[in-house]
């Protein structure tokens, strides 16, 4: 009797598990076979529509805006490296010289930013003129001395690597600084400018913990409460230094008096919080968690879902180190590339919500992306070709086993690795998937003995050419050379040409692509769409800033 009862209870538990969605990483459930109905294919690109919930029915009175974030910022000090959690948490409170969004650079602390016209300079230089009326929330005046001091701190602490692209700083006037770069790689200056938060030396030195928990910035908001790992409360400053609304950029606006970031690692809790009305915005929830908030969903009332391309492409690199299976074996590399059915990955893993890559990375509103690439074939899925290439390399079906390394923390990556495993098995190549936690993955990435194929993600970038970073040998030591370990000077010359501001051009970008298509060292897979869920009872028009991050201060609410 007891045994029967135990068995029944265990079966009930299993049934209950099957009904629960998985936590943490938004793993997809069963996917529809066709494209989602709300997506249209236009000229090879996919237009994304926003599903809308009910009209905003808020009372018009201001209330706290709550943003859910899964990434813990860890520390609020300005000089550490910028993770996603930190970028979300520090914007609006700290400021930079400028911010990059809507396809252009928008000045914040700088009144002017002009490139220096000097042919004698090997690398670019820029003149920055700061506003002379910048004060932080402690009332301390921000001056050029503070800027130079901040740059010293960045160099000394060394955790923010963007500053390494700068050769030196020179004060050229009471409120002006000249910045000399030591590289002309595309995007390096923009990355440096937008990722170096600026604070006053006085406030920093007055802080007992280097502003790790008690930050003081010059932004439109100040942090009034911080519970490590839990919540960060922001309140709009009455004494914000920029009084001229006509020159304010989006990051300087304060349309809501108070907003709060809640760090919630469990995605199911975020969904519950949204349904209960405790959370007003959540980013990147995934299709399965978001569909209940879409039109016709159980929680659609009072919510809408933004579905759009996320800046970030899934990529594949092949280990071409000396002695590896792919070394001097372009046919085998081509075989692997043509064996992958990217359409079925998009449909099966991402439920259709991903954009196919036509080069190493997907272009998301990047001015230098050659748009004609979207209509050109790119490692087309051809299992027969792949099988014949395998035969030509001398491997019999079942003879070759490859190790595919990925991050186990990302459920989608694990899933598409399984899809790739099956694709390669279909043509006779066995694949062993090695899923590692982040720390191990990062360590093994530069060890050619640990993997044959690796998945990686290229995140934020302002220029398409920047997407080739992992094949830029300047970023690696002489024995590693690049993500692929390949000893190919011609490749590196092409990448350097495309990545340099002086020599980049559409031809240069296409040259890298064409060469890589021939040599098949790496490929882009797809860029998954992002699903953001928004409380329409509070948020009328959502505004995004850098790399499509939500800007609570710039968003239009029902009370505005």
């Amino acid at each position: 009797m007891k045994r029967a009862l135990s068995l029944i209870l265990a079966l009930c538990m299993l049934a209950a598990f099957a009904g629960c969605s998985t936590s943490g990483t938004n793993a997809p459930a069963d996917a529809p076979a066709s494209q989602p109905a709300d997506l249209e294919q236009i000229d090879g690109k996919t237009e994304l529509e926003t599903s809308t919930g009910a009209e905003a029915t808020g009372s018009g009175e201001q209330s706290l805006v709550v943003v859910a974030l899964t990434a813990d910022p860890g520390t609020l000090d300005p000089f550490s490296s910028n993770s996603l959690g930190r970028l979300y948490s520090l914007q609006g409170m700290y400021e930079t010289i400028g911010a990059y969004y809507n396809g252009k650079f928008n000045l914040v602390m700088a009144k002017e930013l002009t490139p220096v016209e000097d042919d004698t300079l090997e690398y670019p230089a820029y003149d920055v003129t700061f506003w002379d009326c910048i004060y932080d929330s402690n009332g301390n005046h921000f001056t050029v001395d503070d800027y130079l001091w901040c740059m010293e701190q960045y160099r000394e602490i060394g955790k923010n690597t963007t500053v390494k692209a700068v050769e030196k700083f020179e004060q050229t006037g009471d409120w002006t600084v000249r910045i000399y770069m030591n590289t002309d790689s595309l995007g390096k200056f923009e990355d440096f400018i937008r990722q170096t938060w600026l604070v006053t030396r006085k406030s920093y030195e007055a802080s007992e913990d280097g502003m790790a928990t008690t930050p003081v910035g010059t932004g439109a908001y100040k942090i009034t409460e911080y519970k490590s790992g839990a919540t960060i409360r922001y309140t709009a400053r009455d004494d914000y230094w920029q009084k001229d609304d006509s020159v304010k950029s989006a990051v300087q606006l304060a349309n809501c008096n108070d907003y709060e970031i809640r760090i919630i690692k469990e995605s199911n809790q975020i969904v519950i919080g949204l349904e209960a009305g405790e959370i007003d915005y959540a980013s990147n929830l995934g299709y399965e968690n978001s569909k209940r908030f879409m039109d016709g969903g159980s929680a659609a009332a009072g919510h809408y879902v933004d579905v759009f391309q996320n800046p970030g492409t899934e990529m594949l690199y092949l280990n071409c180190s000396a002695g590896s299976v792919f070394d001097n074996n372009p046919k085998l590399r081509q075989c692997v590339m043509h064996a992958i059915d990217i359409d079925s990955i998009i449909n099966g893993v991402y439920s259709g919500y991903a954009m196919k890559a036509h080069d190493i990375a997907c272009a998301i509103n990047l001015a230098d992306y050659p748009t004609q690439l979207d209509n050109e074939p790119y490692f087309e899925y051809d299992p027969e070709l792949a099988a014949s290439l395998l035969k030509e390399t001398g491997y019999e079906p079942g003879q070759l086993t490859l190790r595919l390394m990925t991050k186990q923390s990302d459920a989608f990556e694990m899933m598409y690795c399984q899809a790739i495993q099956q694709n390669l098995r279909d043509i006779g190549i066995e694949v062993e998937i090695l899923g590692y936690e982040n720390a191990l993955y990062e360590q093994y990435k530069t060890n050619p003995n640990e993997w044959d194929i690796i998945t990686d993600t290229r995140g934020e970038y302002n220029y398409f050419a920047f997407a080739w970073t992992k094949l830029d040998t300047n970023n690696y030591s002489s024995d590693v050379k690049s993500e692929c370990f390949v000893d190919d000077d011609h490749l590196y010359e092409l990448v350097a040409t495309a990545a340099s501001a002086k020599t980049t051009s559409e031809e240069a970008i296409l040259a890298v692509r064409d060469y890589n298509n021939e040599m098949a060292y790496a490929r882009g897979l797809c860029a998954p769409y992002r699903f953001d869920v928004i409380n329409s009872n509070k948020i009328a028009v959502l505004t995004r800033g850098e790399l499509l991050r939500f800007l609570p201060g710039a968003t239009t609410y029902v009370w505005n």
Binding site: S6, K164, S228, A230, I263, I264, E266, E278
Partner: protein, 319 residues
């Protein structure tokens, strides 16, 4: 008794030292690169090498171990987190109370309800009440904490709007985590209590007490229960000792930034100073909990107290 307690307290020190050396060595040989976590995945290899050098990770093992032991045992300084650069003792001072609150209240609830269920089950052995109590125990032992936690959130937070679903900020935020954390403990305590009580109830002195005409409640609570409590206390002590390590699931589900999550996050990020500090903390909590348990044993069972006193007298006489 006092001498016994002091001796036990002194023994904790070499144990902690051994634990510190062991955890340092284990983390030293564990693969993984904290520099890559700090700088992010887009950092170049050259930048990673420089960061490792700056963090002292390229120093020899003995040098790193010596530095660590000197800082912890001579200065009482656990250092700063590699990732957040915040003083670890400051973070733990903020996070540990949250974990302890959940752990202690879960334990209290599980003891009160579990012991009562166990007593009822023992008294009504093989009856309906016994079967019902044991069914509850079976369900409690089988049910995963994270599932139960989410179900409680759906019912009490989403549907009834009685309690907050996650985070911290008020005593109400701790109710659901404590409920979820206590359920498994209720089951274990009920089963253990039932088992102990059944053994005790069959004793001659219980039969004598009942034959003397003592009220039934007095027989159970004054005579039977104290003798049945020792294994129950042992179980409670073990649960309390694991309050930090066992809280991770609840903290993750309910979004409570406690010491458990801090430790797990540090393990994933190879934040060596935090991992070491947390393990040492767990060792201290374990040692103190076992000592507390021994003291409680002495109060609950006079035979044990007499044994401690006799041992102390013999040793004193031996000098």
């Amino acid at each position: 008794m006092v001498r016994y307690v002091i001796k036990r307290l002194l023994w904790i020190v070499p144990v902690i030292l051994g634990v510190a050396i062991l955890i340092f060595t284990l983390m030293y040989f564990t693969p993984g690169d904290p520099a890559a976590i700090i700088l992010g995945s887009d950092a170049t290899q050259l930048e990673l090498d420089a960061q490792r050098e700056a963090m002292g990770l390229n120093d020899p093992y003995i040098e790193q171990l010596g530095r660590f032991l000197r800082d912890v045992f001579l200065k009482g300084d656990f250092g700063r987190s590699y990732i957040t650069n915040v003083e670890i003792s400051q973070e733990l001072a903020e996070r540990l109370p949250r974990t302890v609150i959940i752990g202690v209240f879960s334990l209290l609830i599980s003891m009160v309800i579990g012991v009562l269920l166990g007593i009822v089950a023992a008294i009504h052995r093989n009856g309906i009440a016994d079967r019902l109590c044991m069914l509850i125990a079976l369900v409690g032992v089988s049910m995963p904490q994270f599932w139960l936690g989410l179900m409680l959130v759906i019912v009490f937070s989403l549907r009834l709007h009685w309690l907050p679903n996650s985070g911290i900020g008020s005593p109400a935020h701790y109710i659901l985590p404590c409920m979820a954390g206590s359920f498994g403990g209720i089951a274990e305590q009920a089963r253990q209590t039932r088992s102990s009580m059944l053994e005790v109830i069959r004793s001659d002195y219980i039969t004598t007490a009942r034959a003397k005409g003592l009220p039934f409640s007095k027989v159970i609570f004054k005579h039977a229960l104290p003798n049945a409590l020792l294994p129950v206390l042992t179980l409670a002590g073990n649960t309390l000792a694991h309050v930090v390590s066992g809280s991770v699931v609840l903290e993750t589900v309910f979004g409570i930034p406690g010491a458990g999550m801090y430790m797990i996050s540090a393990v994933n990020n190879r934040d060596y100073p935090v991992v070491r500090a947390c393990v040492i903390l767990i060792a201290i909590i374990f040692g103190l909990t076992m000592l507390l348990l021994d003291i409680i044993y002495a109060f609950v069972d006079p035979k044990i107290k007499a044994r401690y006193q006799k041992t102390a007298k013999v040793k004193a006489g031996g000098k």
